[in-house]
């Protein structure tokens, strides 16, 4: 296929897409138009009328009273809507605000300059562009496809944001971006401008705004913050876990997961395994700050197992030594050792 033929084919495809987009826009605009009689409201009024007739014929006075009130309110509302439509019809003729096919083609041409990949899926009625790699705070999230569904333009969120080469948060596979979960972008400050651009059919602006939201990081309002994107590594078991399933050791401040953390019975604080030790007296585990060395033997003991900085064993030894020193019977008699006593 020659270059000229390729160009003609590209322009033909673009024209078809522009025509489809315009049709979708016209449909979406008529959905939201204020120049139409609310036929649903009229159907509701007719239903209430039938119910009221039935209540009347059967002598259900209370039901008839309630239905009459509802009917009156419904008619008031319908009349207000009808008057609004009548006012609109008496004003000057408003030109169709939907962009022309020519303008939409310009939008599409500009999108081809702005994005590396622009696709139209005729069967699925979707129109999408692909961004470059999104890198936020040195975390690479890969490229994203912004996929607009032309069938749902009059709905609140007619597009999806799909990670093409997903680098999701370690704790949530569906979170592919701090502001994207399950292919849904939470637009934040871009909300009003995105809505307005879709309603106006300014798709060039729509895709630009969405891209800029994707290229911005708001740590104060993210599904998963980038600090925790790769999770937190537990010092004890080495697993990567969610920040909410992790605590910091009160002594060394390293992270430990809830399965590995230990609570010291002395201070009731969380500690890692390395900062805990066994009391030589009661064999319970305490944090190293709650253990004290016995001044006699030098081993570690909890407060309950020490008396005046001495463990029970050392106290016993000290007591028996003192007792022996004080008792005369405890002195060794030379005769019993096979020696002869010599009087001075």
């Amino acid at each position: 296929m020659s270059l000229a033929q390729q160009h003609r084919k590209r322009m033909r495809d673009r024209f078809r897409l522009a025509s489809e987009i315009r049709q979708s826009l016209v449909k979406a605009t008529s959905c939201a138009s204020s120049d139409r009689i609310d036929t649903d409201a009229w159907a509701s009024i007719e239903r209430l009328q039938r119910l009221r007739d039935k209540a009347n014929s059967r002598g259900w006075l209370l039901a008839e009273q309630r239905l009459r009130d509802r009917l009156r309110r419904g008619l008031d509302s319908f009349c207000r809507g009808a008057m609004r439509v009548a006012d609109n019809l008496t004003g000057p003729l408003q030109p169709c605000s939907v962009l022309s096919v020519h303008e939409i083609m310009r939008e599409l041409t500009a999108l081809n300059d702005e994005f590396k990949d622009v696709n139209w899926d005729r069967k699925r009625h979707t129109f999408s562009v692909t961004t470059d790699d999104i890198v936020l705070d040195e975390v690479c999230l890969g490229p994203f496809e912004i996929c607009l569904d032309l069938r749902y333009l009059c709905q609140s969120h007619p597009y999806r944001v799909v990670a093409k080469d997903p680098h999701p948060a370690s704790t949530s596979d569906s979170t592919t971006h701090p502001h994207v979960q399950s292919e849904h972008l939470c637009e934040g400050d871009g909300y009003a401008a995105i809505k307005r651009s879709i309603a106006d059919g300014r798709f060039y602006d729509f895709f630009m705004i969405v891209r800029q939201v994707l290229e911005t990081y708001n740590p104060g309002n993210a599904y998963v913050t980038l600090d925790d994107w790769h999770g937190v590594e537990c010092l004890a078991c080495g697993d990567t876990v969610d920040r909410s399933n992790c605590d910091n050791c009160n002594r060394c401040e390293y992270s430990v997961c809830h399965d590995c953390r230990q609570v010291c019975p002395g201070c009731d604080e969380t500690h890692c395994n390395d900062c805990m030790a066994c009391c030589h007296g009661c064999d319970d585990d305490y944090c190293k700050d709650c253990l004290t060395c016995c001044s006699g033997c030098g081993e570690s003991f909890c407060d309950h197992c020490l008396t005046e900085e001495n463990c029970d064993d050392c106290l016993d030894i000290e007591a028996s030594t003192e007792a022996e020193a004080e008792s005369p019977e405890s002195s060794v008699h030379a005769l019993r050792m096979g020696q002869i006593g010599i009087s001075p």
Partner: protein
């Protein structure tokens, strides 16, 4: 002369405005957004990047989009 100004900041203002003849992109930006902030915005005329001293013509379409638009969580 009239130009279509689209400011994608905040509510997404888009309307035709009256501007003087020979107004440049920079001058319009300074009037509408503020001097010295152009680095924070993508400015396009007729959907194309342009030099700041480009003179606007009748019917031009100028769009101003912030480079940083903060998202949120649901």
């Amino acid at each position: 002369m009239k130009v279509l100004l689209i400011n994608n900041d905040g509510g997404g203002f888009a309307d035709y405005i009256e501007v003087a003849e020979n107004v440049t992109v920079q001058e319009l930006f300074n009037q509408r957004v503020g001097a010295g902030k152009e680095g924070d915005y993508l400015i396009r005329v007729n959907r194309q990047p342009v030099a700041r001293d480009q003179v606007l013509l009748d019917g031009d379409r100028i769009s101003i989009t912030a480079t940083k638009i903060q998202g949120a969580q649901s």
